[in-house]
Point group: C2
Chain length 431, copies 2
């Protein structure tokens, strides 16, 4: 329980997402001390988070204790803590509990939901970033059906059965499809006074097509597939306002009890901690080796970094991009410590984009290969199973999916938390 006196290079990694985890794992075999700081005790497999929100999976099936990932890497210390500042002069990471000195620092803190300057929309339209977001969204979706079942006012019943998803990227498309399947299949026969199939699910996108990162033909397919599931897709209509009753889309006010945000992300923290300029998305500009200009010992990777790609495009905020950057900076640091030549500047290798819509329907765009329908769906499933971090998780997720595929039921339809039913009731009483 004493600190060992230590002359080995100390590397602090902040954030145990795809980027930070990859960097720490790749540094572990070197003769260094790694400290991995995260404000959660788990690594989250974010691509499947929407399935927690739609009652397909349980949180523990897509999250792993960070400690258990590094059990056998004795030179990696995992710290549960929230970073509040970085003392670049003293080379220390400041957390709410204590300070951690570093020789090299990797910032992999990811992004959070961005409400285009309307932060007041956040409680009204939760996004999908953390596990508690997913369980909160799951609660809202399931409670909306419960309230519709007991509502006597037809307008209120209608409002409870209206679901608005803001943003037509992969998360929005996947949420819309999964909610439609939940309403039309899994819940279909479980209510007595309402017909869950009458639920209205609206996917609102400000741009002129869904999934802009994919080929137009795949966008069109996704659009048709969602409509076949009963989703109303609204293009070229930004959301103007959100309140407790619903959302204003273009000139129309749509009453809706459940609104889900999938429209944009922003980076917070890193720019302030380092005292450097950021772009409008909060991303930090970095040198070709992903270090911060003026601070060759500090690296920024993943969503938090502004990395040019092709033309005007930036490297996208995808798991493979974060992993590639994590591996790259680990190599840069090891080369410097071992006094080897620095690797060539970072180059992002784009793997592809994919999104699932529903049973037997997904789109996959690898550039050289485009898949849709059931072939895309199986490809999507296999890829996600393959990248799940443990055999246990992969087995559980496969079993859940297999079961859902056979029975069309959902396994995680739980509303937890004390008095979850009528969160806005107390407001009404006050009013």
């Amino acid at each position: 329980m004493t600190e060992l006196l230590n002359a080995r290079p100390r590397i602090v990694v902040v954030g145990a997402g795809f980027g930070g985890l990859t960097a720490a794992k790749r540094l572990a075999p070197a003769d260094v001390d790694v400290t991995l700081v995260d404000r959660r005790n788990y690594h989250l497999f974010q691509p499947l988070l929407y399935q927690v929100a739609t009652a397909d999976l349980s949180p523990a099936e897509i999250a792993w204790p960070i400690r258990s990932i590094f059990t056998h890497d004795r030179n990696v210390t995992v710290i549960l803590g929230e970073v509040t500042a970085i003392d670049t002069a003293a080379r220390q990471v400041v957390t709410d509990a204590k300070r951690y000195p570093y020789d090299f620092l990797i910032l992999a803190t990811g992004s959070s939901n961005f409400y285009f300057g309307h932060d007041e929309w956040e409680p009204l339209a939760p996004g999908l970033k953390r596990i508690i977001d997913a369980t909160e969204i799951r609660k809202r979706i399931l409670v909306a059906f419960e309230r519709a079942e007991i509502a006597d006012d037809p307008a209120e019943q209608r409002r409870q059965l209206n679901f608005i998803i803001v943003g037509g990227g992969p998360t929005g498309v996947e949420m819309a499809g999964a909610i439609a399947e939940l309403a039309r299949v899994a819940l279909a026969k479980d209510f007595r006074r309402i017909d869950p199939k009458a639920a209205r699910i609206m996917l609102i996108e400000a741009g002129d097509r869904l999934l802009p990162a994919l080929a137009p033909e795949l966008s069109a397919y996704a659009h048709r597939a969602l409509e076949r599931l009963g989703v109303e897709v609204v293009l070229r209509h930004p959301v103007q306002d959100i309140n407790t009753r619903g959302a204003k889309v273009g000139d129309d006010f749509i009453p809706a009890a459940t609104i889900i945000w999938a429209a944009g992300v922003i980076v917070t923290g890193v720019g302030d901690w380092l005292g450097v300029e950021t772009d409008r998305g909060g991303r930090v500009a970095i040198a070709p080796d992903l270090s911060v200009p003026g601070h060759p010992e500090i690296f920024v990777i993943g969503d938090a970094a502004r990395v040019p790609w092709t033309g005007e495009q930036l490297v996208p905020g995808l798991a493979p991009a974060a992993k590639q950057a994590g591996a790259y900076v680990a190599d840069v640091i090891r080369a410097r410590i071992e006094k080897r030549p620095a690797p060539a500047p970072f180059r992002y290798r784009h793997v592809g984009n994919l999104a699932t819509i529903g049973r037997n329907a997904a789109v996959v765009d690898l550039g050289w290969l485009r898949l849709k329908g059931w072939l895309g769906w199986w490809f999507w499933g296999l890829i996600h199973i393959y990248f799940l971090i443990s055999v246990r998780a992969a087995t559980l997720v496969m079993l859940q999916w297999f079961w859902t595929y056979l029975t069309r039921k959902k396994g995680a339809r739980l509303v937890t938390g004390l008095r979850p039913l009528f969160p806005d009731r107390s407001d009404k009483r006050k009013a």
Copy 2:
């Protein structure tokens, strides 16, 4: 979406635990309308709840949406709502949302934790009744190890690694054993500055033996088995006080960051709703057919009912007892509706008591059969799997257990919730 005019007998069941669920299922085939009201949307398999608290299982593996249990029982309506009163004159159940008229009423509301008049201990020493209790306890256990890892003050580090479980019944025994295994096996190699095996786990019981409902030889075995796991068992010492720093046990104050309550239950609600006398445990005295004296149309079953058994003993608050009572009152009601002779008075058939201590160690007392050690452990596991309500759940739980058995790892080591790490930090800042 309109109420059907209805001349069939209306039966309202309050509570979807073992008793209420059994009653509703048994009434469903009859020519009646059943309304099942619960403030949660799930039925919880409470005997395995402690495994959620100790990171073995996920909530969804031991909880099922009540609706899905009654999908094919079209005359059963499930209502998510909190009962606030019962209007016995008008024969209506009053919930926070609306009123439900009944011809017969079954109250199966269960019990909550009882702190012997010290309600202020509840937030300091959560009990194990609901899913949020279990996830809260899981959070406290896991966060205690995290805080110990970053603590610089040896006394504080020590305090974080002290765990007190109050109450030596089955829940207390199972919690103590599971926490010991968590510390000594699953977490053993995951920390760098602390040795989780040094955690001190104390099981405090006011009486003179553990598991008083089982044969003394099994109590003695459980005692020895817990000590082998490293649990300190303290008998004949009631807990005198609990505060944010620890607990006073006998004359000693034991600093401890995590205190878990497994010492007593109380019934609330039913007595007040009906305006009848209750015993000190809040239980309602009932007639031999489990109806409320003066209200032959109202039945109380499960923990909430005071049912004599043998000698001075009452029917215990166990799942089989609640299920038997649920089936019995369903038969009484059907006999009355169908104008058949009433069944003989309720008679409880005791099945047995059992508790698991740890890997290959459990005690089973069926009266005619007593098991301990690995035989008891396998028996315990098979019984619990057998009674899990769905094949999906049974498969998932078996898979989790199998995995844990092989790898000795725990699958659900998640701390969720915003800023879960330092709940008492804000208090300190204020102080």
